[in-house]
């Protein structure tokens, strides 16, 4: 059983395609990135140490600044999504985007998403709502389980920065969100967005490559 093969013909996608090809080519083996569990599975799913590491990363990366609770896991509304529409909502051009409920509630949070879907969200920016629970091996749309029409997390979710974390750190974040946080039933209104699900905002020109270019770049001293 396979889904239909879909040719890449539009200019729009051709340009996107070339960008991702470029990105894929730069992701050469032997990079300094820790590959972690490269089979796409969390090697140490749910261990206490993993959850603790995930918690540390969530706190230090400011997830709660947008998703609720700031840097304080004891705060009311910790990671359960927009409650203050003035402080927490974003107005991106004509669109309003809203940080979601990251607690593992089944219907309003991440409860029905797998850790791998959360990993794919952090690594590739792919919305778990539309991206299946699969191991992604390519960044070329339509190949290696990378969606033909990638639906990206709404701007300004900083996944282009978070994707540079090593695999095990992303798995740790996923493990913390799925098992370390209590589910809270809190529905966040759906974000608006362009019909390309922000693909135009996540080109290599705008977000760079992963891995990052070798040190030093023109901006860097090399020391």
């Amino acid at each position: 059983m396979h889904r239909p093969t879909r040719p890449h013909s539009s200019l729009y996608l051709r340009s996107l395609l070339s960008i991702f090809v470029a990105a894929a080519c730069t992701a050469a083996p032997g990079s300094s990135y820790s590959s972690g569990a490269s089979n796409g599975m969390s090697a140490t799913a749910g261990t206490q140490a993993q959850v603790a590491r995930g918690r540390e990363l969530v706190i230090t990366h400011g997830c709660g600044d947008c998703h609720g609770g700031g840097a304080n896991p004891a705060a009311f509304g910790w990671l359960d999504g927009v409650r203050d529409t003035i402080v927490q909502e974003f107005h991106i051009g004509p669109f309003v985007t809203r940080p979601k409920n990251l607690t593992p509630d089944n219907t309003t949070g991440t409860g029905r998403f797998s850790e791998r879907q959360l990993f794919n969200a952090l690594r590739y920016g792919l919305r778990p709502e539309e991206t299946p629970d699969v191991h992604i091996t390519s960044t070329v749309p339509g190949q290696g389980n990378f969606p033909l029409h990638p639906h990206y997390l709404a701007v300004p979710m900083p996944w282009p920065a978070f994707r540079h974390l090593p695999d095990q750190d992303l798995w740790a974040i996923a493990a913390y969100l799925k098992t370390g946080v209590k589910p809270v039933s809190h529905r966040v209104k759906d974000s608006d967005g362009p019909p390309d699900f922000w693909a135009g905002e996540y080109t290599v020109e705008k977000i760079g490559t992963r891995p990052a270019p070798p040190y030093p770049t023109a901006n860097e001293t090399g020391r």
Partner: protein, 478 residues
């Protein structure tokens, strides 16, 4: 409630005056009163070639045809027996149905008998493709109690939206010997579809990798041209005071209709699997993809006046791909009151039939089915995988959760179910269903019993682009 009573009183509901239904012959079209000005009836009925009692044997061919789907423009289409919609399969409870099907298309196809309880190998699911040039005989016996409105359409793997969009769909009417509604009541089958065309009249299927292809894949392919029985804005004639029975099928790929007859309410008497227990007065009706309703429509106008059946706005869409014109009200057909003198309305029975509730104390499994965008339980379909395994005789509750911001219509093959509740609100009346719209961010619970017919049955989102994308699962009944 007051509105309901007012209409009920108009209809002079009285169980004691229930007219016995007249005996009817085998498989004949019952299109009701059709005059020259009534343009709603263009379809035909599959001709029964059997002389054996209680047997309906028909020939059905799917083939490429050149005809006009879009008014005034001839283009290449797919058609059943040269017609769009295909001829109606008109049968009675207890009939043995034998369909000699031939695939003259350039691609594999199947015929899925949507909503009908039948053996697995006659379901026409992706498990049983029929290659180009091949034939297949579908055989099933129409179960007593299943009288209602159904439809047939292709269900090949990953190509259903294309094949239906090219013109392959037709209606099925199952009649019962003891139909509680007056036999004299005009009975009309109205198949709703929409389509989109290129300038040369060909059906517009954009490259799936294009921007428009992506929009279609997300929304389900919609078109600006709305059809009733393959016609744009047909006219149905009704005599003042007359009551007609309308069987409405939504054969659209993605469009969910919110139907309303301007200026009046109607009585809904049935759904996918046949009649309700009692008529329900409604001002508008949500008709999701693949779903059917049976309505009683009264000629409320004075002679010579007309009204329209409209499609009212309904926001089924994700915010990112919601069409800009989604709030536009669209007319579907004209209901013309004839110049004839008014007639007195027939009596509508208070009670239509018994819909026996499935027994929740017999439930052997409670399952959760999570719909996200294009996915069921986070997966796309794999025909080599069994997603739900059960056995004949089991009764189950399925909790269907839609966790994303777009509606997804649920369809189960082979078995009619009953809705228990939606978002915890008990279903107000019992009905047999095979389609259930699961609105964005909502949960419904259904109960189903697998009476017989082991096999691998599909359950899926009936937005055709979604099911073709793989928003489908396999239910194995052993």
């Amino acid at each position: 409630m007051s509105r309901r009573l007012s209409l009920l009183s108009v209809l002079v509901l009285s169980a004691s005056l229930l007219a016995p239904s007249a005996p009817r012959g085998p498989a004949v079209p019952r299109a009701g009163v059709v005059s020259s000005a009534d343009t709603s009836k263009r379809g035909s009925v599959l001709v029964n070639i059997s002389k054996v009692p209680k047997t309906v044997e028909v020939n059905l061919t799917a083939a490429v045809a050149r005809m006009s789907l879009q008014p005034g423009v001839v283009s290449e289409v797919f058609a059943y027996n040269g017609r769009v919609p295909g001829p109606t399969l008109d049968v009675r409870e207890g009939d043995q149905v034998i369909v000699h099907f031939r695939n003259d298309l350039p691609e594999p196809t199947t015929v899925h008998w949507h909503g009908i309880h039948l053996p697995f190998d006659s379901d026409g699911s992706p498990f049983h493709p029929i290659k180009p040039g091949e034939t297949h005989t579908y055989i099933f016996t129409v179960r007593p109690g299943s009288a209602g409105t159904y439809w047939y359409h292709p269900h090949p793997d990953a190509r259903t939206g294309f094949a239906i969009g090219k013109g392959l769909f037709g209606g099925i009417i199952i009649r019962s010997a003891d139909d509680p509604l007056p036999a004299s009541m005009p009975d009309k089958l109205l198949i709703l579809s929409d389509n989109r065309f290129l300038a040369d009249g060909t059906v517009d299927f954009p490259d799936p990798s294009s921007h428009h292809g992506a929009i279609d894949e997300n929304n389900g392919r919609e078109g600006p041209v709305l059809f009733v029985n393959g016609q744009v804005m047909p006219t149905i004639e009704i005599r003042s005071g007359e009551i007609q029975r309308w069987r409405i099928v939504n054969a659209s790929a993605g469009r969910i209709y919110r139907l309303a007859l301007a200026g009046q309410s109607v009585l809904q008497v049935g759904s996918d699997g046949g009649l309700f227990e009692k008529p329900v007065e409604v001002k508008d009706i949500l008709l999701t993809t693949g779903e059917r309703v049976e309505l009683l429509v009264r000629g409320n106008g004075v002679p010579g006046t007309k009204t329209v059946l409209q499609n009212l706005p309904y926001d089924r869409y994700a915010p990112q791909t919601r069409p800009k014109d989604w709030q536009t009200i669209r007319d579907l057909l004209t209901l013309q009151t004839t110049n004839d003198a008014p007639v007195s309305s027939p009596v509508i029975p208070v009670t239509l039939r018994k819909v026996v509730p499935l027994d929740t104390t017999k439930v052997t499994a409670v399952r959760t089915v999570t719909f996200s965008q294009g996915l069921i339980n986070g997966k796309t379909m794999d025909m080599a995988r069994v997603d739900v395994s059960t056995h004949v005789g089991a009764t189950e509750i399925w909790q269907i959760e839609n966790i994303v911001g777009m509606d997804h219509p649920f369809h189960m093959h082979g078995f009619q179910f009953q809705v228990l509740d939606r978002d915890g609100v008990p279903e107000p009346y019992r009905a047999w269903k095979d389609m259930l719209n699961i609105p964005k961010h909502s949960t419904a619970r259904i109960i189903v019993r697998y009476d017989d017919y082991p096999g691998k049955w599909m359950f899926h989102c009936h937005i055709l682009d979604h099911e073709d994308h793989g928003m489908m699962g396999v239910l194995e009944v052993k």
